[in-house]
Structure formats: structure tokens, C-alpha cells
């Protein structure tokens, strides 16, 4: 078989694909090559992605980074930290704080699912998990507000502290709503933006109310 002695590929036959050289950053070959890297690098890459999204939330520009590479790590971390900080505020000392943790979790995730379904039913072009991702990340300002409230409550719980907490929570609530609107409203038909914004407003209002009425034991 004389033809088989030469196994090199002739130049005029195009060889497509990324089998030999991983040129694209999202090629399926990437998984193969990231298997050998140290665990620290993998974790740092994910952490950096989450951190970048946090920055996007705090300074909401019209970028699509939050939508393109969605992940639910950030929302999980925010949800857990918010739920942990909201514990211990029950009036009954016999209460072990368990239901509060579950309550916050259920509110956030159930609320996010309902808003996503609503925006999809209204004709939105965004996918389910992208919307969950955006709504979860936009809880960040409210988590910051919770932190500030707890610190203020350490100093005392008089009228001044209430006014400070009220102002902080209102500001962060506005920030959250604006940030999520900036990301989500673009995917809706232009005349229905108000219909999508209202449930988001309600959602963050409920969370802000939980934060504002929190008092430690």
C-alpha cells in the first residue's frame, strides 16, 4: 500500500477543529487541560469570576458578563450569609432560629423562581438560570445593608439608630432594584418593562423589610 507510507496531511485539505491546539477559551478541550492544574487555581478562577460579578452588581453598567456566564455560587453565598445574619433576632428566646434560616432561604429562592417565571411568561428572552443568577447577585447591596444594620445595632437601638438603618436599607433597596432592572429589563419587550419591574420591587421590598425589622436578642 504505497499511499499509506506518507501519513502527513496535505496542505490543501483543511483540518478544522481544536483537537491539536486549544485556540478558543471555551473549547471542550479546556476541561481536559484544566484537570492537571492545582486545585487552588481552579478555586481562585471561580472566586475571581464571582468577585467580578459582585463588582458588576455594585456598579451596574450595561454589561452582559453577568448574563453570559451565569453561576449560582454568588447567590448561594449571599443567601447563606444573609440568613445567618438574620438569625438570633427572634422575640422568643426558646426559638432556636431554625425557621428563620429556612424562611430567608425559601423567600429568596421561591421569590426568584416566581419572578423568573413571570418574566418568561411576559415574553422575556432570558433563560431561567440567567435570571436566577442576576436576582441572586443583586441581593448583594441588601446583604451589605444587613451588615451595616448589625454594626449600628451594636452601638445601640434608639431613634437615631433606627433612622440610620432606615436610610441605609432604603438606599440599598433602591440600589438592588435598579441593578437588577438594569440587567433584566433589556430582555423584555420595551413596553412591558413596568410589568417585570414590579415583582422585583416587591421581592426586594420583602427582603428589606426583614432586614429593617431585625432586632438582636
Amino acid at each position: 500500500f504505497p499511499g499509506l507510507t506518507d501519513v502527513s496531511i496535505s496542505e490543501d485539505i483543511p483540518v478544522e477543529g481544536e483537537i491539536t491546539v486549544p485556540v478558543g477559551s471555551h473549547s471542550p478541550d479546556e476541561d481536559f487541560s484544566t484537570l492537571d492544574e492545582p486545585v487552588r487555581e481552579t478555586i481562585m478562577r471561580d472566586l475571581k469570576a464571582v468577585g467580578k460579578k459582585f463588582v458588576h452588581v455594585m456598579y451596574p453598567k450595561k454589561s452582559s458578563a453577568l448574563l453570559r456566564d451565569w453561576d449560582l455560587w454568588g447567590p448561594l453565598v449571599l443567601c447563606v450569609s444573609l440568613a445567618l445574619m438574620l438569625q438570633g433576632g427572634s422575640a422568643d428566646s426558646r426559638d432556636d432560629g431554625g425557621p428563620q434560616f429556612a424562611e430567608v432561604f425559601v423567600i429568596i429562592w421561591f421569590g426568584a423562581v416566581v419572578i423568573t417565571l413571570n418574566s418568561k411568561l411576559l415574553g422575556g428572552t432570558i433563560s431561567f438560570f440567567q435570571s436566577l443568577c442576576v436576582l441572586g447577585y443583586c441581593v448583594l447591596p441588601l446583604t451589605v445593608a444587613m451588615l451595616v444594620c448589625r454594626l449600628v445595632l451594636l452601638a445601640g437601638s434608639g431613634t437615631i439608630s433606627f433612622i440610620i438603618r432606615l436610610i441605609v436599607v432604603i438606599a440599598m433597596f433602591g440600589w438592588s432594584t435598579l441593578a437588577s432592572t438594569a440587567f433584566l429589563a433589556d430582555s423584555q419587550p420595551p413596553n412591558r418593562k413596568a410589568l417585570v419591574v414590579y415583582p422585583i420591587f416587591l421581592f426586594y421590598f420583602v427582603i428589606s423589610w426583614m432586614i429593617l425589622t431585625f432586632t438582636p436578642q
Partner: protein
Amino acid sequence: QSGGSAVIDMENMDDTSGSSFEDMGEMHQRMKEEEEEEVEGDAGAAEEEDGEFLGMKGLRGQLGRQVADQMWQVGKRQASRAFSLYANIDILRPYFDVEPIQVRARLLESMIPVKMVNFPQKIAGELYGPLMLVFTLVAILLHGMKTSDTIIREGTLMGTAIGTCFGYWLGVSSFIYFLAYLCNAQITMVQMLSLLGYGLFGHCITLFVTYNIHFHSLFYIFWLGVGGLSTLRMVAVLVSRTVGHTQRLILCGTLAALHMLFLLYLHFAYHKVVEGILDTLEGPNILPFQRVARDIPVVSNAVLNTTAKAIALTL
């Protein structure tokens, strides 16, 4: 070969199809039993058609596996088809096809009773407005429950509010729809849900106002005025779609009673603490009451104190 999935199916299939996951000893045993069965007769061996049909016992295991594989594929296809049929949210899409202008118009219309009851009134079968109103009611109830210190265990706060509001909306809608079916009224389930949902707009307004301003007489005025208006509208629409006096009476009486009583319940069930406090006030010597269980912000304390003083002075 779908070895992983076939394991699940193989265990559920009857033993006669032959398992390829038995160890060799067992297989030999089976093959011996097969030989004996063959000798006895094939009458009851219809299920072992794989081996018997081909007459090659060595291939029975493989054919069994293929059959299992096929059954798995068919089952999976059926399940995914059923899932895409029932879990498809596109079924609900037509009910959410609204514009903000329409929603606003319908909200305002829900407070205006129609005058023409001889002509069936049109009801828009839309679910966005009612759903948002139910959630708004939930939010208002939470607000009210927290300020009136009703529930101590927070875990049930959200559950109670959601359960109450959704239970009312879905339950009473279904009940009235059932009554409408008995009374021969022309209304569909979606229309009933929509009608009752928009009727909750009056409730939202009333509760929002009276949770912040705790005048008892104010609540009664709102109850009769705002609640009454939205009830009248629902009743008028239903009357226009029903024929016969008795039927109209049954249907509209039930709806009116349930709607008004619900508002009464929402106000008083979550209001008992403030009521109790107002009862203990005597004359102008009012002690500013201390909240023991939950720390209500001092600002709303001041508001409550001034309203309590005002009521005591008017009594």
C-alpha cells in the same frame, strides 16, 4: 451498551428474560434448568421466547439486554414527552399577555360597579394582575403582622401569609366556580380567578391604609366603602352572567359574604395586640406602651401613641 441504565431495568424485569449480571455459577444453573424445561415442554415458556425462539441459549443474555435497553429508551421518551407536555409553561403564556396600561385600567375598573346587569359583562381572562395583587397582599400582611406583633415564631410568618392569601384566592375561586356551575352561570375558571384576583385590590388598599393608621372607625369606613365597592363590582358582573333570581341570590350572596368576611378576618386576626392595648387605655392618662416581645421601631411607636391618645380623647 447502556450498562448503567440496564441494571435498573433488569432488576425490575421478570427473571425469565435472563440476566447478564448474574455470576457464572448461577448462569450455569439456569442453563441446566432451561434444558430441563425444554425437555418438559414449551407451553409455559412464551416469555422465554428470546432463547427458545432462536434456540441459542448463549445469546439469551444479550437479547435480554437489548430488550431492556429498548424498553428504557421507550420509557424515557414517553416520560420526556409527558414532561414537556405538562410542565410547559407556554400553556400559561396567553394569560400573561397584557400591557401596563391594561393592568392599570383593570385595577381602576375593579372598584367601579357596573350598572348594566342585563347584558353579560366581559371579563378579561388574565392572570398577571391577580397574581401580582396576591403577592402584594402577602407583602402587606407581612408588614402588618410584624408591626402588630402577632407571630412570635418567624418561621410561620411567611408561610401563614402566603398560605392565607393563595388559599383564599384559589380556594374561594374554585368554590364560587363550582357554585356557578350549579347555578348555571356563564363563567370559566380563569375568568373567576381573574375576577376574584382583581377584587383583592380593594383589600390591599384597605389593609395598607389601616395597618398604618390604627383607627377602628377608619377601618369600618374603609371596610364598607372600599371593600363594598369591589364586592359590588364582582357581584354585578356575576349577576349579569346568571339567569334566575334564586341562582343570582345564592351566588352573589356567597361571594359577597366570603369577600367581606375575609377582609374582616385579615384586619382583626392580625390586629389583636393593638386592640388589646387600646382596651387597656383609660381616659387621657395614657402610658406609652412598651413593646415587650418585638422591638417595634420607636418612630412607629410614636405614631401609635399619638393615634391611641387621639382615640382615647374622642371616646
